[in-house]
Subunit: 137 residues, 6 copies
């Protein structure tokens, strides 16, 4: 009953803007800097989905990565790729699309589709230098 | 009078949309695919600026890369970083902001600031897998 | 009539072996080292396909990269991905599948499908440290 | 008695095939997809070996990475590099060489050579997008 | 009160030498190899600073990464970048500047500036293949 | 008589300092910035050696990369790795060790060892963002 961790990477390209609508422009600029710019900017978000579970005796797999790729396709690529996160998604109408919150939302979407016998962690690269992780804590 | 090539990298994060306003949505979708989505999407554009010239006898430099960094700051980062290319820039009001055209525009901006004794080439990564180069040809 | 270069990357995973059947094992080992091992070894081949041509006035594209992706799918991924180059392909029954020859074969396959108005170059990474380029010269 | 973690990377190039011999070809294809292809395919496996232990007062090292490199040479490169995992190794005659199982086998080989005062973890990249980790759990 | 992890990367270029002054040259060469060479050598040290904490309800941030960048500027770049670690810093006058000890020193500098409500970990790449982590253990 | 290009990568870690001894410290600081710091700093220099030539009919090789690796070992790693370029090498006693000059010196060393039937180019990464190329022009 050996356990292992498997990771699968994906990438989606999206526009977003960080701001709180009840704040003034000056407040938003102070807190969010150029990320608050009204006409949006964008990123190549690189996503790692990380599962922890038992290595299956017969297949030698923890999880079929082709299935995981399909799940990521449905739960992440479909709603977020080539989209404006603020305008085109239900989740970020009110919630600020920071990397932390995007990771949390993706984790929640995947958690519903992956059995409870697997640990789940999401790592999101907003740029090469800014990275976040969320694991349901 | 030995000659060498020097490269300097930078990155800017921007939103854009590919479409022609005189075309129907269906035409735009057929030609530009999800890149034509009306609410924009975005990228971490990675830029390489490439200069070719004589190695200066005294300094051993072809071009002071700190000066080149400053030029890139003024001519690329300032107008394009954390911006919407279609809405926030003069150049892409009419011109489609494909990677090819972005590279051409950046080349034109830098060409004016760099002496004619230097060859100039621009390489632009829109994603890790899609890359363009422009050298004034 | 500005011209630019566009690159598209892909990856295929294949097994191969370097040897000449008319040579002894000792000769093959001397020339090809561990690459001559009889039971094959393998690589994640990373491929860059590089086109040079005119930027189309209306679209701003040199070449539709989605079409190029489709071409690579048909001419490279289909015949070579998850295959044994020596045993499963027509081209390498007699020809030694060195990185140089693989690049040359891929170039030949793509050259037939891409109009003569485009320059074509193929870059192939056999490992992170060993890379070849072929441009029909 | 401060503790730290040290990582050392290596790469080996190998051929493999995923299948169970008691299954039909159709079953193998369904479960393992193109990885079940009979003539093998291959990968550049990138390996990270990760040790956790006390920073030695005199040297400032957790573990001499030149020694670790030597261990990896003997226990991983020697048996697996430029080999066919299914045909050329004792471990994968019966065991399916999935990334999970390869990581587990490498961990077992290294665990015997590294003192129990060190924590040991193995991370294995089969491709840039498929990664596994094993830590003896 | 969801928690997440955020990472910020930086790079500094420094010279160093590994040796103990009470040892002979032969002893130092045996233990530290070419790293003990008397005239120093150097590295592009890549640094990841990793914070763990609560996602702030209003901003959606765990920690403002622009502030973290500023902290890294003051506590790491200022004292270490373009310096000789052995000669130009207080910390490594007596302490051997191994990657482990550099990570420990950087962790100590940052720990004083970052509130106790945040977990802190430092990852340091001395080269692409040699990496260490320190988390105050 | 098809021709192709082959590349081989290597890395060396060295200390250096940029300055002209006949200039004042203030002059050196103005021209070379923190690179002029008297106690040296250092880099992981990443080197690409690029050869252009005929694909050999029998072997399918342009150049045996194991031989090229050996040449790089003798002409680059041996004299420069884990060294202080200013103090430990003949070439940079008088010549400023800028990336341009280092590339030129490496090119000259390799040119003597590689037959005139091969084109030769050297690419040198001083950091991830600063790169130079030299080809004997």
């Amino acid at each position: 009953m050996a356990k292992a961790t498997v990771l699968r990477k994906a990438q989606f390209n999206a526009a977003h803007r960080l701001f709180r609508k009840e704040w003034t422009d000056a407040q938003n600029l102070e807190v969010f800097g150029p990320c608050s710019h009204p006409h949006y900017h964008g990123h190549n978000y690189q996503l790692w989905v990380i599962l922890h579970g038992v290595i299956h005796e017969q297949t030698g797999y923890v999880y079929d990565l082709r299935k995981l790729k399909q799940l990521i396709e449905e739960e992440v690529m479909e709603p977020f790729d080539h989209r404006n996160l603020n305008l085109d998604t239900q989740e970020f109408r009110e919630l600020n699309p920071t990397a932390e919150n995007i990771a949390r939302v993706i984790w929640g979407r995947l958690r519903k589709r992956i059995g409870p016998e697997f640990g789940l962690q999401v790592r999101l690269f907003e740029t090469e230098r800014n990275v976040v992780e969320y694991s349901g804590e």
